[in-house]
Amino acid sequence: MLPLERKRLLVVDDSEIDRAILVNILSEEFDILETDNGYRAIELVTQLRHEIDAIMLDISMPLISGFDVLRLIKNHGIENIPVFLISAEATRDNVVKASEFNVAEFIGKPYEREDILRRVKSRLGVVTNFWLTMEDITETNRYITDLGNVYRTYLTNFERDDMHYVNMIALMKILLQRYAAKNPNADLTRDKMDIISKAAYFCDIGMMLVPGKNNVSSREPEVIAALQETHTKMGASIIRLNHSKHCEFFMQVASDMCIYHHERYDGHGYPRGIGGKDISIYNQMCRLVDEFDMLFSKFFGSNELKANFVMKRLAQDDGMVSPELYSLLEDCKPSIMNYYTKLMRSI
């Protein structure tokens, strides 16, 4: 594996001109392999699977389409290389198809040099420290508001409210504040904690694209299976439809939460079965607060009784998140109970 600064990308596009332009843009920061042929791309990926960090793949190619390339790569058991799909239009059809695969983003034509470099670098973790400007925060909150309105409309159409996700935001804030106090090097400003908390609200937004009538409350096995396998990746696709550079921090955090909020620390989660430090602390927190609120809302009794019961129950599942998060949750019990008490009084 190359050093962090020089990752290797595979560029696949049958158009010599478009491919040359993209290679020229990317070679500023990355090492490049290129081919004009989807079949040759499959050969390269299977031969060099541990040496390719991402694939830039044109959807429309004459011999074999980009989606068919992805399907064949998946059949070879290779699913964890991020793919940037090159398409002029991120249509609903393409977004849905893309969710079957590890598609990181859509790249549109004509190429915008700075935009492509920023997005690819961000996605591959080359730029991991975000410094948020006022414009970033304003535009991000505007995007969150708009996206939230769409999501709430969807939930309302299926006679659900968003209370669970509102509670997740509050619980995330409590955990993050405590975590930041204990980990001053974590680079968690108040604005970042606010955005990370709000990102948790959208962890299940991928359900909007899962087929099936009334899919939210369905108990049909095939719908449940579809929900489990695809809503994670579809959620990330929805979040990433926004291409504004000002929203990049939120999109990175929120799309990761969509994908990883059902993974487990012990590696027995889905969709990818990753574990340990491969799941960021914020994604693990999202999982923890998701489970906490679901259990807390189900049981009866005083808040203290419920909190004790739920924490004990979660702690029994010791592979779900890292051990430090169970301790963190315990530390936050008074604040959590305070939140639910105020919530009950306001209802």
Binding site: I17, E28, K109, R113
Partner: protein, 116 residues
């Protein structure tokens, strides 16, 4: 007058194109010189004549991408409209745009070829 200036006179957004190539004018010109041969492999008017709409959309879409990346703006705008109209199932309107676009494309290709 160089090729880029001549193309600018034909309303191509050369500044945008240069930015895409990080102001590497020689590389930009090299890619522009590939355009005539690439464009000639695609025959959108023939697809229209044969009412082969699937391939008409595919080829217009390819030209849209290519002309966009080369900042051949009048062609990019034209093929963008053609693709949109074909997708809306309005081939007659798309053909009107194509008819207007052909002489512009010929002028741009002639300009590029004069520097080869």
């Amino acid at each position: 007058m160089g090729m880029l200036e001549d193309l600018r006179d034909l309303e191509c957004n050369i500044s945008e194109g240069l930015n895409r190539f990080a102001n590497h004018a020689a590389l930009y010109e090299k890619m522009l010189k590939k355009f005539p041969a690439s464009a000639q492999k695609l025959d959108v008017p023939a697809r229209f004549a044969a009412k082969d709409w699937a391939n008409a959309v595919a080829e217009a879409h390819t030209l849209k991408g290519m002309t966009g990346n080369l900042s051949l703006s009048p062609l990019y705008d034209g093929y963008t409209q053609i693709v949109a109209l074909l997708r809306e199932d309005r081939p007659e309107q798309a053909e009107k745009i194509l008819v207007m676009l052909q002489p512009i494309q010929e002028r741009i290709i002639s300009c590029i070829e004069s520097y080869q």
